[in-house]
């Protein structure tokens, strides 16, 4: 046991957790922590707004599959984190948010920069700690990481009053901790896996629906083994995009509001759906009552509360999906052969649908469209390059037209749908994988929200590519106004302000404005090799819509495939 301050103990405990980066911004109530940071080996990334710090920690966590850490001061610093924390919560991403708090005697006195951040973040954190004495800090840090990373991952808040940061005391760093009320299930009940196995083996038109849980547990090879072993076509949720290689013959891509048409269609024709690490969100299944009606639905999930929440199921396998899938694969008899005739018909249906929709969904007749641009990005970007997105049309076009080849190289704010997420998150992802190019597929609306992270990308030498599909619009809102509000546009025109190339250059980043596919090709080839952040401004038609489209409140069968 050695004597040290609470702040020093925090840094020592973070080092013990092998934290590489802290994304943050100092202020009055976390000055002792920032002082202790000077002596730490951990690299600090100074952000320009705390929301971006949380998104960076989130992006880091999604690629590293290990908790990301962000720091903010009390009051406004802490409330600025909230959007980032809520984003991580909605997408089950492990982040540790460490906030300064006013000194204990000042709590409840409406002190300067005091806010009850534990109360504010309660609905969007997995847990929150507030040490009352400095000696509690090492154990709370260890518990924070354990809670954030295990079971269904999620954000944990550590709110440290300033006097607790300053208090010098003997510190004990525990090797083992136990959280009494928290026992995440790892290994699933074998009898349920057996039941699931029987249902799948007897299905004539089985379908796998892979969700974000596959990515979170890293069950890529297990998923692929299962699909190939039984020749089961694979659709994903949007969060599960890239859980399965999208150039695989069994891959159909994401289903949902803007899912691939053939995936939306074929999932309705299945006679058994195996949902793995998916939560049947409204954006994915449309209407809960219509989806998977009268067929066997099997649900693999780590979170018992997801079973039956949105969708009643016929078999529920609760546990880490990687471990559950391994057990399932072992249960398939060695001599089992799929009925070739039925399988041929079912897989033939896939090809039929792909061809049908390829002919019937027309691209816009312009030199550059979102679709063409994204196909070009796929062509130039190496397979292990990481892609994230902003939110809106750019995100849905990415879902439709950008195929993820290497599993786990794609992520997006899918649950909360946070505009401004992609750019800072891509910087966090770059920190996690410095050796591969990282691209943020952006729209002008979202990029405007966190564009000041260009300073971080440039100064901290974490270069990413902003692939800016610029329609000078809040495009998705405009599309809904076109579709449901009789073209009465309201509050959607961004009018090409600012000039994104000049903006990028003012931060010391590179910029390209492209007006032809040829220029885009050249700009991308330069960007993937560049060691400076790059913004590629790609003007597109403001009237370009995202199709297919399943209108809210309707089922997948009501999919619209064009205007």
């Amino acid at each position: 046991m050695s004597e040290m301050s609470g702040a020093a103990a925090l840094m020592a405990a973070l080092e013990k957790e092998k934290v590489e980066y802290i994304f943050g911004l100092p202020g009055g109530a976390n000055l002792p922590i920032y002082d202790a940071l000077v002596d730490s080996k951990i690299r600090h990334i100074l952000v320009r707004h705390e929301q971006s710090a949380a998104h960076m920690a989130d992006g880091y966590a999604r690629i590293k599959r290990k908790a990301g850490v962000c720091f903010a001061t009390s009051g406004p610093g802490a409330t600025n984190l909230v959007t980032g924390i809520a984003t991580a919560y909605a997408d089950s991403s492990p982040i540790i948010a460490v906030t300064g708090q006013v000194a204990l005697p000042m709590i409840g006195k409406d002190a300067f920069q005091e806010t009850d951040i534990i109360g504010v973040t309660n609905p969007c954190t997995k847990y929150a700690f507030q040490p009352r004495v400095a000696s509690e800090i090492p154990e709370m840090v260890k518990k924070s990481f354990y809670i954030a990373e295990s079971g269904r991952p999620g954000p944990v808040l550590l709110d440290i009053p300033k006097d607790v940061q300053q208090q010098v005391t003997k510190m004990d760093f525990p090797e083992y901790i136990k959280v009494r009320g928290y026992n995440p299930i790892v290994d699933a009940d074998l009898s349920e896996i057996n039941k699931a196995c029987e249902m799948i083996l007897k299905a004539e038109k089985p379908m796998i629906m892979a969700g974000g849980g596959v990515i979170l547990s890293g069950a890529f090879s297990e998923l692929q083994t299962l699909a190939e072993l039984l020749s089961i076509p694979v659709v994903t949720t949007f969060k599960g995009k890239g859980a399965f290689p999208e150039n695989h013959p069994l891959a159909l891509g994401p289903i949902g509001m803007h899912g691939h048409a053939e995936a939306n269609k074929m999932v309705q024709e299945a006679d058994c759906i195996l949902a793995i690490g998916a939560r049947f969100s409204d954006r994915t299944v449309g209407r809960f009552d219509e989806f998977g009606k009268d067929i066997n639905v099997i649900h693999f999930d780590v979170d018992p509360a997801e079973i039956g929440k949105n969708k009643s199921v016929n078999a529920a396998v609760i546990g880490d999906v990687k471990s559950s899938l391994r057990s399932l694969i072992k249960l398939i008899p060695k001599n089992f052969r799929t009925n070739e005739e039925l399988s041929k018909l079912w897989l033939g249906r896939k090809r039929e649908l792909v061809n049908y929709y390829e002919d019937s969904i027309k691209d816009y007749s312009r030199e550059i469209t979102a679709k063409k641009a994204l196909k070009k990005l796929r062509e130039i970007l190496p397979a292990d390059g990481i892609v994230t997105t902003e939110v809106g049309q750019c995100q849905m076009w990415a879902s439709l037209h950008f195929d993820v080849i290497s599993p786990g190289t794609f992520f997006s704010s899918t649950g909360l749908g946070t505009m401004g997420f992609g750019f800072p998150a891509s910087i966090g992802a770059k920190a996690a994988r410095i050796d591969v190019p990282v691209v943020d597929i952006a729209g002008d609306g979202s990029f405007s929200m966190t564009e000041n992270s260009l300073a971080v990308s440039v100064l901290e030498e974490l270069p990413v590519i902003v692939f800016l599909l610029n329609n000078q619009m809040l495009g998705m809102v405009a599309q809904w106004q076109r579709t449901f509000y009789n073209r009465r546009y309201s509050g959607v025109h961004q009018k090409n302000c600012p000039d994104y190339c000049k903006l990028a250059e003012s931060y010391g980043a590179q910029a390209h404005r492209v007006s032809s596919m040829d220029e885009l090709d050249k700009a991308l080839k330069v960007a993937v090799k560049s060691d400076i952040a790059t913004v590629i401004d790609i003007p597109i038609d403001p009237d370009e819509d995202v199709y297919p489209f399943v209108a809210p409140g309707t089922g997948l069968k009501d999919m619209i495939i064009g205007a």
Binding site: N122, Y127, D294, A305, I307, G308
Partner: protein, 179 residues
């Protein structure tokens, strides 16, 4: 098609009263986390009582809620997810002893009224806690139904104030919390 077996309760979509006996960490902020969960997920709370258990670091919350089984199942699972929740028992009228205490203050300016109310209280095994020239306050202990019945009985005298504790409950017989 198999009937859904992954529910801890029988399929029945009627609204009923359930009593949740919830063992939680005895520390600040736990009550807030639980009530906030009810609010944010649109669950209903009829009453909630909190008190320390036989172990000083644990509290028992007794929550009564009116819901259908599907909602109840989801409610129990969401509560179980809370890290400060150690254990949940779902109790009902058949498998539990449950009691509530109510203090009811009534108008009683007329001496015969006071006698009538005192008689009713005796029938309900209540106690007279306070009598003044103008009011009488009765303590009733029992199931919520019994307290409601007493309230209906005396409502014509004019009820001035009511304070109810909410339900406290324990499972019948040799059930250990296994903590």
């Amino acid at each position: 098609m198999q009937k859904n077996k992954n529910t801890i309760f029988d399929e029945d979509n009627e609204n009923k009263m359930y009593i949740l006996s919830v063992i939680v960490e005895n520390k600040p902020g736990v009550l807030f986390r639980i009530t906030n969960l009810f609010r944010s997920r649109n669950f209903n709370i009829e009453s909630i009582t909190v008190g320390i258990t036989e172990k000083p670091d644990l509290s028992r919350m007794t929550i009564t809620t009116v819901s259908d089984v599907k909602t109840l199942e989801q409610l129990v699972k969401q509560l179980q997810k809370l890290i400060d929740v150690i254990q949940i028992n779902v109790l009902n009228k058949e498998n539990a002893v449950y009691r509530e205490l109510a203090l009811i203050k009534m108008n009683a300016k007329d001496p015969t009224t006071r006698i009538e109310i005192a008689n009713f209280a005796t029938i309900y095994r209540g106690n007279i806690m306070d009598i003044s020239n103008e009011t009488i306050t009765v303590e009733i202990i029992g199931t919520p139904d019994k307290i409601d019945a007493f309230k209906n009985l005396v409502s014509s005298y004019g009820i001035i104030q009511v304070a109810r504790t909410g339900v406290s409950a324990l499972p019948r017989g040799a059930v250990n919390d296994d903590l």
